[in-house]
Every structure is written in structure tokens, then in C-alpha cells.
Subunit: 304 residues, 2 copies
DNA sequence: CGGTCTTTTCCACTAGGCGGAAAAATTGGA
DNA sequence: TCCAATTTTTCCGCCTAGTGGAAAAGACCG
């Protein structure tokens, strides 16, 4: 027997002045209602409602318990509804990690619209370059180009594939010449993102032709913005996702090279912990991000 | 499944950091505890505790619900314990009705000691001469000389049998003479308590001799104190329970007559409503009164 | 890599709760 | 005063929900 049901029967009977009507409202038989009330009175060792077949009235103990237990029922209902509402309209804090570049170019511009939809949900973005220990770092969502190592507890969801580009400053190209073939890259200062898979081996294709070039890094870093800054200062030729440098290219401060050759795509993924009930905040954020990227993607930057 | 048990499992698990330990403390199997927690999470559509086989931690929803539901559990426990305590240490108001005489001579002197034992219980005494409608008048206990008419809802408990006495003022006796035989009473002014059974027919006995005398009432009333005041003013001979006039007799302001003749005893009863669980206040009051009368009874006034 | 420990799930069993109906009781109207 | 109507309580047979034990699954440490 559910103790809360016992109290509900008592409260409803006191309100309606009839066990039968309470039973009806609560969707149970008269017999069940009678038993629930009797069980409550036995548990409290007190008669809460004096009653005969014609009328009923609260005892003094019943009046006191009605006041206190009504309050308790209301508070519990509020608490349960509040928790339930969180599932439907998420609140609290969502901790996201991505590269600085992705944060600057995609997350930051996206957040105003996201926050307008979910004003009670705060988003904290940690710029980082490696997958975190989700639990230890308290991270809810990670956005990375690499795949997370196979893990039953982490779900990886593909965001999209991004094109990459080779580019250098005009000053560098004037000083060091424009590379005409992939093989020319071996004689150039290359700016390398060292967290990429096999970062010092470049594979370029043109139609059916494939060239694999081993490069040496005049500079390598785990941060795309550092790579970009180095390129802007004429330190060499960078290879990076187009989305990071498109603004520079449009501004003329970086010049793309070997444009007729294709570089391997970069797959961008969202990763989050596998949970029995995915918190609403993770669900709404990942759905929003996927939609945002889909809507704001040009075929220049994103492919399939 | 008891919903309160579900919450108790959740709260205890959060406190102890282990489902197994919560199960142990709450006296249930690990399987049962696991099911209770899962049922609560399903009911709220929210994960309250993230957990694996090594550790567990509260979600944000879980932290909020822990705070609120702990408070609710505490309040409910307080409420239930308060009601339970009432049964053991009664509080509130007890409504008693008795004759004015009985109230003045027995109840009022008794109350200080009773209240010392039960300081939280207030006693309200209504002087009245007839049995009330218990429910309508909100009366808990009635003390009366007459038997309540047979009623499954009213319990009648005997308090004791009281002696009665005939008495008049010295002035009246000097003026009208001292009655020597029961038959003499027909020529005297009698002061009659008209709520007695067959008040105008007196039955007196001396050993094996019985005399039945029909009297006429110079005055009759439903209040013993009025009868007593009339006697003190020389209006006639009264017949009343000895306890009412013993003080006057000892003071010499009333003189007993026909003392060698016995009058029928008066049975004093306590009546209260029959309830499935007798409220503690009725139980403690009636027990106290019975004991008080037993301890303060002289064989002059009370008999077996 | 295996052992230890915890959580979850499965399974067989049974205790408890159900609704319907009968019993008991109360009140009002004829 | 009696009977009908209505409510509360109790009984009974049925059924399912909840149980504990054990196995399965998983996590972490030595």
C-alpha cells in the first residue's frame, strides 16, 4: 500500500466530506479507500476521521494532520513537477569543450539564438584540444575532429565533414615562391597542427592522381589559432580546415595554394556520455548545434 | 511500490554514496533498492543519480530533488510523530458535562492535579442536567446519575453509587416540626429534584420495613444547587445526594432527618462515545476521575 | 589480467492489494 | 414506527506487483 495514496485518500475525504466521493475522484473502489484510510489511522495510532454511514467529521488529530499533510503533499508535487519540468525545459549548466577555433567561429555566434530558446540553461565552453575525461572534468559535450576511442559510455555523433586548405601570406609567397606541385611543399616552411592524424604526411589528390608528401614543420602547434597567426606573419604555409581561415582568405591576408588539389576531409564529431536518460540539456544542445551547422554550412566549408 | 520508500531509497543512497549500503540500512535487498530508485527516476522522467558499479554522483536534477524531498520527508515524519504523540500524551480540548453540583464538588477540585499531569490538555466543563447529543454538542464525556438509553455508540462506565439524604434548615424544623416517620413527609413542604427517576415517590427502608411515600413538591427544580439554596432558606425538606449538602450539615445550616431510614442509592455514570480508537484524552480523563473519586470517597457518601 | 565489489536484471514465488458483493449501520421520509 | 436509500466496512476470490536470491554485467585496483 502506497503511503502517499493513504494520505491522499485522507485529505480528499476531508475535503469532500465523503469516503465514497473521495474514492471516485481518486479512481479507486470504496473498499480500497476505506482500507487506505484505516491503514493510515493504524500507522498513526490515531483516529483521524470519525465517521458513520451518514456523515463524517475530523477529529482534532485529524485537523492537525490534514493541515500538515496537505502542505507536504503540495510540496512534494511541486518538487516532482519541477524535476519533470527540467526534462522538458532544461535548466542549469551545460559544459561544452571544443577547439578554440570552433568555439570562436561556430559556438560563440550560435549561442545568442540558443540562449533565446533556453534562457534557463547556461553554457560553459572550455577551449581544449583533446578529449577530456568526461566524468572527472565534468564535461557534458565534447566537439572534436578525432574519433573518441571506442567506449561504451561515450556516444559519438557526427557533425559533418569539413574541407581543409593550404594557405600562406602574400609576403611569404613573394619571398619563397608559390608551390606549383605537391612535391614543392617539401621545400617550404610548413605550419603543422600536431593533433591531426599523421600530421607530417600530406595526401593530396587531383582526379585519379594522388601525391603523398612528407613535410617538415617549421612550426607545429596543438592550437589552430596559433597556426593561423604564424601564417599571417609569413612564417610559412598552413594546412587547416577552411572554416578557420576563410575570413583571412577573403581579406587577402592569406592566399590559398595548390587549390586544384584536394586534401582529405576532416570529420567533426560531437561526443557525450551514454546515459539511461539523456539529460534534456545535452539533447537540445546537440540537436541545435547540428541544425545550426547544417543551416550555416556552405559547400565550400562542409561536405556531406 | 510505495512512493515514499522510493524517495527514502534515493535520499539514503545520496547520503551514503552507495545503493548497497542504502539497501542495507533500509532493510531491503540490493535488487529492491535498485528497482525503487529506477521507478522514482521513471516517474520523474529524470536521472537523479548517475552511477556505475564503482561510484555514483548526483545529477543537477538529483541535487535539487534531494534538497526538496529531504525536507518533505522530514516534515511528514514530524507530522506523523506529532499525531502519534497525541495518542500517548494528549493535547487539545476535552469537553465534559456534569451537574453543577458534581462540577463544583468533584471536578473543580480535581482539575489542578489532572492538569499537572496533562498540561497540554484543556478541559471545558459544561454544567447541564441532561444527556447531550454528544456529536451535536461536541461533548466528549458526560457524567450523569441516570443511565443513558441503550445506545451502541455510547459507552457507559459506572463511577459509583452515592447515598442520598433528607435534610432541612433548623428554622424550618422549629416552625414545622421534625418528621418522625416516613408518612410524616406527606405533610411537609418537600424540595424535589425533578430529573430524578420518579421524583415524587419516595421509597425508604429500615431493615426489612419498606415505606413508599408520595410527596408533593413545594418547589421542584432541575438543579441541585437551587434545591440546596431553597432548603438553606427554610423553604422545606430536600432529598439530595449526601455529597451536595455534607458541608451544610457539618456547618449546622442543614439538619438531616429520618437518618435511621435508608434511601435508594444514586448511581453515578460516565458516558462517552464508542470509537474504534478511543482518544487518549477521554481515556486518561475517565481513568483519572475514577481514581480520584475512589481515593476521595468516604463510605458516608459513596457505597460499593 | 584476474579478483573483488557494486549495480542491474532475471526468475520463481508469494504476499498483498484489488474490485465486487455482502453485511452493517444511519438517517429521513412516509 | 418501519422501510428505503445510501454510505462505510468487511469478506472473498483472484491476480499481479513486489520480493529475495542468484546470475549477469561492469568498473576499478593490485
Amino acid at each position: 500500500m502506497d503511503r502517499l495514496t493513504q494520505i491522499e485518500v485522507f485529505v480528499k475525504t476531508a475535503e469532500l466530506g465523503s469516503l465514497s466521493r473521495a474514492a471516485e475522484v481518486l479512481g479507486m473502489s470504496n473498499a480500497a479507500a476505506s482500507r487506505h484510510l484505516a491503514a493510515l489511522e493504524e500507522r498513526l495510532s490515531a483516529r483521524l476521521i470519525e465517521r458513520n454511514t451518514r456523515r463524517l467529521w475530523l477529529t482534532e488529530a485529524g485537523q492537525e494532520f490534514l493541515q500538515r499533510s496537505s502542505a507536504v503533499l503540495n510540496e512534494l508535487t511541486d518538487a516532482e513537477e519541477a524535476i519533470n519540468a527540467r526534462t522538458l525545459s532544461p535548466t542549469g549548466l551545460l559544459r561544452v569543450t571544443s577547439s578554440l577555433s570552433f568555439a570562436l567561429i561556430y559556438l560563440a555566434p550560435m549561442l545568442p539564438a540558443f540562449r533565446a530558446l533556453y534562457p534557463k540553461l547556461n553554457v560553459h565552453i572550455a577551449a581544449a584540444n583533446r578529449y577530456p575525461d568526461f566524468i572527472e572534468a565534468g564535461i557534458d559535450v565534447a566537439i572534436r575532429t578525432r574519433l573518441h576511442e571506442p567506449d561504451t559510455n561515450i556516444i559519438v555523433r557526427r557533425l559533418g565533414r569539413m574541407r581543409r586548405v593550404l594557405a600562406a601570406s602574400p609576403a611569404y609567397l613573394e619571398r619563397c615562391g608559390m608551390p606549383k606541385e605537391p612535391a614543392d611543399l617539401t621545400r617550404h616552411d610548413m605550419l603543422v597542427y600536431n593533433l591531426a592524424a599523421d600530421p607530417f604526411s600530406l595526401r593530396l589528390t587531383k582526379g585519379d592522381i594522388e601525391r603523398i608528401v612528407r613535410i617538415s614543420g617549421a612550426l607545429d602547434s596543438n592550437d589552430g589559432q596559433i597556426i593561423r597567426e604564424a601564417a599571417l606573419h609569413g612564417l610559412g604555409i598552413l594546412i587547416q580546415p577552411l572554416y578557420i581561415v576563410q575570413g583571412d582568405i577573403e581579406a587577402g591576408t592569406l592566399v590559398p595554394v595548390l587549390l586544384d588539389w584536394d586534401l582529405p576531409m576532416l570529420t567533426m564529431n560531437i561526443a557525450y556520455q551514454n546515459r539511461v536518460q539523456l539529460p534534456a540539456k545535452i539533447r537540445v544542445f546537440t540537436d541545435f548545434l547540428v541544425n545550426y551547422v547544417r543551416k550555416n554550412s556552405s559547400s565550400q566549408i562542409w561536405a556531406g
